[in-house]
Structure formats: structure tokens, C-alpha cells
């Protein structure tokens, strides 16, 4: 276990290093990028720009700039945004994390429950009309772009039908922390949850159905039947249990990606001040410190999710446990 943790930590450091260097280099090679000009305000004189460059260390060699950036990010933690001076990057991310977590956790609960129900139902109803119907439904879910779906949801709940009894409870776009008002928190998030989970419900239901049908042909499922177990028990304890192995690993990775900033589109559409929105804004304004911080945050979450998946995998499948 210790070996595993150490290996993961080394991997995390390596991944974060590689990604930050890549982001850094790409940033300075993007045309039209000049942080000093941005910092200097409108129509600056060349002297001002020079002074700013010096002040921010932008006139120093790139490796040194990189190190300064990293130092400000990790050690002194006082890195400030280029486009919005005075805005400290690290607290900004810390404040955005619970929003993203709320969004992704809620959606995850929905998509796991619904996709298991759909996948199992389709597998059990194989040979009837319901199986292809469920799968077409899943395919529709997969094919709908999340931003379009989000905008449609907004159009319906905020605009067209907001005044009907159906959607009058929907608050204006935005976010309320759970600690402040749990009911409002829920009201703000329930539509984004549904929108975000649609794609994953479709994906997971299809994967699970395929897995279940494959497991159904395994010899040990036949053994379970030969033992005289009920169909229900065979399904839940044998077929579904082993099919969950790939389901769970897939889930871990998707979850990591979403928490790491992958829910960007949903956050933008529903104006949720999470890490995704932060990333989006920093990308629009080409704000290197924020981009860097969000990228590192995302990388760390994805690597952690990977590690959790590996542990979960070993927990679900004794064959891969180290002896």
C-alpha cells in the first residue's frame, strides 16, 4: 500500500510538472499575448510597460519566470491575477471548489442510480421491445450537447414556463452555499444536476447493459444458477456485482475529470461560480496565473481520481490485489 501511495505521489508531481510547463510554454507562444500590456491599462507609454515588465519579472528568462510563478503559487500563495489585479488566485480556487463539488456530486448520484436502473432493466428485458427503446433513449441522451441542453433548460425554466406552477420555484441563475441555505442550494442545483447527468446516464446505461450481457455468459453465472439461486440473486450478487468493476472504474475517471474542471460548460450556462467558470473566464482573458492554477487543480484531481479508481478496482476485484 505504501509503495502504491509513493508511486502515485511521484506520478502526480510528474504529471503536474509536465502540464504546467506545457501550459506555460503554450501561453507565451500564443499570438497577441502580452501580460504587461494588459497590466498597464489603456494606452500605456513604453516606459510604463517596461516598468511593469520589470516589476512582474516578465523581462527575465522564461525558466526563471516559470519558477517565480510556481513559487508564488505553491509557496507564498500570493499569486495575483493579471487581468483583475488584487484578485488572489489561490483563495479564488478554494472558494470555487465547493461549488463544483456540489454540482458534480449531485449529478453523479443521479447518473449512477438512473444508469444502473436503465442498464439492468435493458439487460433483463432483452428480447422485448423495451431493451431497444431504453438504448435509443440512452443514445439520445449521449447525443445532446450539454450546453444546448442547458440553454434549453434555462429557456424553459427561467423564461417560457417560469410563470407556470411547474417552474415557478426555480430561482434565478446563480448559487447559494449549502451551509447558508440548504433548500436554496438544492433549488439552484437541481436543474444543472439533471442537465449534467443526461450524457452520463446514456453512456453508463449502455456500458452497463453490454457488460451485464457479457457477464451473463460467464461460467460462474451458470454455476450460480446451478446452485439453485433465484434469478434476482444471480443478477444482483453475481452478474451485477462483477459488471460493476468496469462501471466503477469508468465512474472514477469521469468524476475526476468533472471535478477537475470538466463541468465547465454547465457552470457557464447556469452561472455557477465553480472552477469551470473560473477556467472559462481566465481563458477568455488569457490570464496566465488563473489558467495555471486551474490546470494544476484539475491535474491533481484527475490523478487523485485515478488513484482512487485503482484502489476501488482492487477492492472490487480480488484478483488485482497485491499478494
Amino acid at each position: 500500500m505504501l509503495t502504491f501511495v509513493i508511486r502515485r505521489m511521484i506520478a502526480t508531481v510528474f504529471v503536474v510538472f509536465t502540464i504546467t510547463v506545457l501550459v506555460f510554454l503554450i501561453f507565451f507562444h500564443t499570438p497577441g499575448v502580452d501580460p504587461a500590456r494588459k497590466l498597464a491599462g489603456r494606452n500605456p507609454s513604453p516606459d510604463t510597460i517596461k516598468a511593469i515588465k520589470h516589476q512582474y519579472g516578465l523581462d527575465r528568462p522564461l525558466p526563471v519566470q516559470y519558477l517565480i510563478l510556481m513559487k508564488k503559487l505553491f509557496i507564498s500563495r500570493d499569486l495575483t491575477s493579471y487581468s483583475n489585479q488584487g484578485q488572489k488566485v489561490v483563495p479564488e480556487i478554494v472558494a470555487a471548489t465547493p461549488v463544483t463539488l456540489s454540482l458534480v456530486l449531485g449529478a453523479a448520484v443521479i447518473w449512477v442510480v438512473v444508469s444502473i436502473l436503465m442498464g439492468v432493466a435493458a439487460a433483463v428485458l432483452r428480447g422485448t421491445i423495451f431493451d431497444p427503446m431504453l438504448m435509443v433513449l440512452a443514445l439520445i441522451g449521449i447525443s445532446m450537447p450539454v450546453f444546448w441542453l442547458g440553454e434549453m433548460a434555462n429557456l424553459i425554466t427561467q423564461d417560457r414556463y417560469h410563470d407556470t406552477f411547474l417552474f415557478s420555484w426555480v430561482p434565478p441563475l446563480g448559487y447559494t452555499p449549502l451551509t447558508q441555505d440548504p433548500v436554496m442550494w438544492f433549488k439552484h442545483l437541481v436543474i444543472p444536476w439533471l442537465v449534467l447527468s443526461v450524457l452520463y446516464i446514456g453512456l453508463y446505461a449502455r456500458v452497463l447493459r453490454a457488460d451485464l450481457l457479457e457477464t451473463e455468459n460467464e461460467d460462474y453465472v451458470r454455476t450460480a444458477r446451478a446452485k439453485g439461486l433465484s434469478e434476482r440473486r444471480v443478477l444482483l450478487r453475481h452478474t451485477l456485482r462483477t459488471s460493476m468493476i468496469s462501471f466503477v472504474s469508468l465512474f472514477g475517471l469521469d468524476f475526476g475529470v468533472l471535478v477537475g474542471g470538466g463541468a465547465l460548460l454547465v457552470e457557464v450556462v447556469f452561472a455557477l461560480p465553480g472552477v469551470g467558470l473560473l477556467t472559462y473566464q481566465s481563458l477568455i482573458s488569457l490570464d496566465l496565473p488563473v489558467i495555471m492554477a486551474t490546470v494544476i487543480y484539475g491535474a491533481i484531481f484527475i490523478v487523485i481520481a485515478n488513484a482512487v479508481v485503482d484502489v476501488g478496482y482492487a477492492w472490487l476485484d480480488p484478483r488485482v490485489r497485491p499478494a
Binding site: T3, I6, R7, I10
Partner: protein, 330 residues
């Protein structure tokens, strides 16, 4: 062809260990699987040597070492007087024409997307033997030789039954007119009645083409039927080597004795003493000290646990590695 009394293939002290690696960042070897451990074997021109043993005894690995599909950990292999144990891939290429392999699983060893004619003709094309028209003609000859019809040229492997696929595998192996064929469990995936067809085919081909076979199998009845000499392997070592009939009449090694007695005989009236070995084959990662068979051997004494018995000659052409040899003629 060279001296008929000289072996076509001569293996000396062949070892193949597979390392087991572990480590945080840098992988280091923590143990090794002793798959093949100091094996000597000669294959004389025109003979069939059977190599038997249970799964995990290293018989397939040894076969793959001979054709250099594995690099040796130690030892030498000579083919027709030439040391091939250190040749690289390029240097091995001309030799691939002389040594061919037939595999166990006729379902997995043929490319499902290629037509039969292409599968059999590929070795010819790869080695640049003959012009295009010649290749087609040769493939049709080969199809006929293995008992398929030339019309099968354009079919795909899935259109054939297991036995027919194995014939295709044999035809492919024969394409370059090799002198030695290493057949790794060539019939064990087939039904009994089909096994007999393929076994007969192999022996006809040997008579017609003067082939030398190394026949690797776990089925002692089949091995005895096809082989002139038989080598019995246990945990990476040859424990007995004898002419086929001699091995079955007078096994010297207790493992051979047990192995033979374990084969069910299709005659309920035959009363035989059945020696049922206890336990499983030990791990080849940490083979037992002394004689590797001693934990399961009913004749084992103290010396067997400490001293490894050498493979010594007990009768003409009959070698065994045991401290307590059985069935010796006084």
C-alpha cells in the same frame, strides 16, 4: 544434408528464466520463474521426439527456445552444426525456413481476416521464394498434401472445422519445406476422431518428406503413438529420456511411472495399479531443493531432498534423473 549420425538439432544446458519485477520507480528483479532449467536434448534427422509433461513444466517454453521465439537465459542450441543460440532476428531469418512451428489452437493461430491461400502462401512471399504464379501453385500442392482441396484456396479460416484448420496450420508450416517441425500440442484442441486424422497426417508427411518432429503434448497416449523417443519434463527439467516403447514398458523415474499410470485406459477389464500423486506441482519460482519431484514422490528419501540427481544413462538410450531408479534390469 550432412552426416546422418549427427543430430539435426542439439540443445545443451538450455535455461530460460522469466524475471518477476517489482519496485517503486525502478523495477528490480525479485524472483524468477525457472521455466526451463538446464535441458539437453538431441533431435536426430528423421526422428520424432515426444516432449511430455504437465502444464507449467516448461515444455512449450523449451520448444519456443529452440526456434528462438524466446531468448535463452543460458545454454546453446545448434541446428545442423551451426550455433543459433546467439543469432539476432535477421541472422535467424534463413533458419526460419528450416524450422517451423505448428501451434495448439487452430482457432487462434490463423489470422481470421486472411484467406487460406494467403495464410499458407505468406511464408513463401515473405522469404521471397518463387514468382507469383509459383506461389499459387505451391499453395495448391500444399493444400492437397494436407488433405484439403485446392478449392479451399479462397476461403476464410472460420469456414473450416478445427481439424481442417489444423491442416491449414500444417500446410503453412510446410510451405518452406522445413526440415524440423516443432509441434506444440497440435492435436489437443481437437476431438478424438479428428485427432487421429491429424496424427496420421503428420506421420504420413514425415514418411514422405523426411521431416524431423519435436512433438510437444500432455497426452501420453498420443505422444507414445507418434514418437521414437520421449522426454518427460517436470518443473523445467528433463527427468527421463527413453525410446517410446521402453519408457512405457519400463519407466525408470517415479514421475514417469505415475504419469503413465494416471492415464485412463479405455478398457474396464484392465486392472492396473493406479498411482495417484498427491498435491499439485510446486511453483517454478521456488522449485524444491534436491530432486524437484521429491515432495510428491513415494520413494523419496533424505538424499532426494538435498542432492539433485543428474540425468544418467541406465540402459541403451535410456536416461533418467533419479536416486531411486525403478525397473532396472539387473
Amino acid at each position: 544434408m550432412s552426416d546422418p549420425a549427427a543430430p539435426l538439432m542439439r540443445a545443451r544446458g538450455v535455461r530460460k528464466y522469466f524475471p518477476i519485477k517489482r519496485g517503486v520507480v525502478f523495477q528490480r528483479e525479485v524472483a524468477r520463474v525457472h521455466a526451463v532449467d538446464d535441458v539437453d536434448l538431441d533431435l536426430m534427422p528423421g526422428e520424432t521426439v515426444g516432449l511430455v509433461g504437465e502444464s507449467g513444466c516448461g515444455k512449450s517454453t523449451f520448444g519456443r527456445c529452440l526456434i528462438r521465439l524466446h531468448d535463452l537465459t543460458d545454454g546453446t542450441i545448434e541446428f545442423d552444426g551451426q550455433d543459433i543460440s546467439t543469432l539476432d532476428r535477421k541472422q535467424m531469418r534463413p533458419l526460419r525456413r528450416e524450422i517451423q512451428m505448428v501451434f495448439q489452437d487452430p482457432y487462434a493461430s490463423l489470422n481470421p481476416r486472411k484467406r487460406v491461400g494467403t495464410i499458407i502462401g505468406d511464408p513463401l512471399r515473405i522469404h521471397g521464394v518463387g514468382a507469383r504464379g509459383d506461389v499459387n501453385k505451391r499453395v495448391q500442392e500444399l493444400l492437397e498434401l494436407v488433405g484439403l482441396s485446392p478449392e479451399h484456396y479462397n476461403r476464410y479460416p472460420h469456414e473450416f472445422s478445427g481439424g481442417q484448420r489444423q491442416r491449414i496450420g500444417v500446410a503453412r508450416a510446410l510451405a518452406l519445406s522445413p526440415r524440423l517441425i516443432i509441434a506444440d500440442e497440435p492435436v489437443s484442441a481437437l476431438d478424438v476422431s479428428i485427432q487421429a486424422q491429424v496424427v496420421n497426417l503428420l506421420s504420413d508427411l514425415q514418411d514422405d518428406l523426411g521431416l524431423t518432429y519435436l512433438f510437444i503434448a500432455h497426452d501420453l497416449s498420443v505422444v507414445r503413438h507418434v514418437s521414437d523417443r520421449i522426454a518427460v519434463m517436470y518443473l523445467g527439467k528433463i527427468v527421463e529420456l527413453a525410446p517410446a516403447e521402453e519408457l512405457y514398458d519400463r519407466p525408470i523415474h517415479p514421475y514417469s511411472e505415475a504419469l503413465l499410470s494416471a492415464v485412463p485406459v479405455p478398457d474396464p477389464d484392465v486392472e492396473r495399479e493406479r498411482i495417484v500423486l498427491q498435491g499439485d506441482v510446486p511453483s517454478p519460482i521456488t522449485p524444491p531443493s534436491g530432486c524437484r519431484f521429491h515432495p510428491r514422490c513415494r520413494y523419496a528419501t533424505d538424499i532426494c531432498t538435498t542432492t539433485e540427481p543428474p540425468l544418467v544413462k541406465h540402459a541403451e538410450q535410456h536416461l533418467a534423473a533419479c536416486h531411486h531408479p525403478l525397473n532396472l534390469r539387473s
